[in-house]
Symmetry: none
Subunit: 186 residues, 2 copies
DNA sequence: GTACGTTGTTCCGTATACGGAACAGGGGAG
DNA sequence: CTCCCCTGTTCCGTATACGGAACAACGTAC
């Protein structure tokens, strides 16, 4: 490795970082400082003279830019045209749109599609995890089995997700919604 | 970096790789060979004695395992709180569903309704503010006037909101969307 | 004018991730 | 038993990613 096996690799990442950085009107110096990486590192990365960064470096940069690491990487690691990571369950498809890591909290934003006729079960998340669901179309019944919440179009609910919970679309209509999951970090 | 700043980082990745590899009944030697990385590298990575791998190494391993790189990285967790009010503009109604205050970031979650036929102007937010828009119905044209972004149903975009920006629904259809605003706290 | 605060680049010593090779242990095959 | 091929681990020299610091080229303030 480090030879010509992955030709555009170095430049690909650099170009993406630079674009995201400029979209946010942040200077190279500022981003390097805020992300905790050396200016030399970031500079070399952006102009492609320094390929193959360490995962920690990428993590720091992606975090500061407010994007998941995948957003910095060349589109398909293997194949299969999938720009976003989607988790498919029997009743629910969840597409991870954004992740944020703050000092004491991790936040994930999903677009959710719940198909009617099934009930999707989700295991318990770490203690203190809270989910926020905003429904745009259809009516959903969600939450812990012993305290199910019903939400129609425009509705918004939240519940503690550190116990097993379920998702279901009722009234035979597909539900499209946004789901925000906030998990405290140790 | 490289010190104890990211404690679980090294082990987290290693554990995931090892689990994925064993699920596939692939030996460490075989995976190392097929992925084109040294056995020493893979071994050290899996048992956590070698943290902070290079992106090329991760790429090769993830590719061989048939998973996106994100599948190898530490996931998310978090927490929250809550208020509620609606701001009505000429074209846009924004309902504040949730607000979160982390150590260095304020996050606000809105449900957005954009009516067609008008353009809603929004002034600049504080430096570093980023907006994330997820569209569920209709097609929206949003962002800084000189770099407008078009988003259809299911689409998701983000832009820097520290300069004036606009929201509009195009194609005569109402837009319902979720809007996440993240503002760095100085 | 000088003095600062930026910008992004380059130099360079150090830390470390890298893979080749050598290693011990475990099954089969004959 | 020996021989062979596999397993995963450890040793070690080399390649290189890292950040601190020095740098030139800008503005802006006074």
């Amino acid at each position: 490795m480090g030879d010509g096996t992955t030709p555009g690799f170095a430049t690909q990442i650099g170009v993406r970082i630079r674009r995201l950085r400029q979209e946010r009107n942040v200077s190279l110096s500022a981003l390097a400082r805020d992300a905790g990486v050396g200016k030399a590192t970031l500079s070399g990365l952006e102009d492609g003279s320094r390929g193959n960064p360490t995962i920690e470096t990428l993590y720091a940069i992606a975090g500061r830019l407010g994007v998941p690491i995948g957003a910095l990487l060349p589109d398909p690691p293997q194949e299969g045209e999938k720009p976003l990571e989607t988790i498919h369950g029997t009743a629910v498809s969840a597409t991870l749109l954004e992740t944020f890591s703050d000092a004491d909290t991790d936040t994930e934003l999903f677009r959710l599609h719940i198909r009617p006729g099934y009930v999707q079960h989700s295991p318990a998340h770490p203690p203190g995890t809270i989910e926020y669901l905003t429904v745009f179309t259809g009516t959903a019944k969600v939450g812990p089995p012993d305290a199910l919440l019903t939400v129609g179009p425009g509705g918004h609910v939240s519940w503690t997700a550190d116990i097993p919970h379920t998702y279901a679309a009722i009234s035979g209509e597909d539900v499209f919604a946004s789901l925000l999951i906030r998990t405290p970090r140790n």
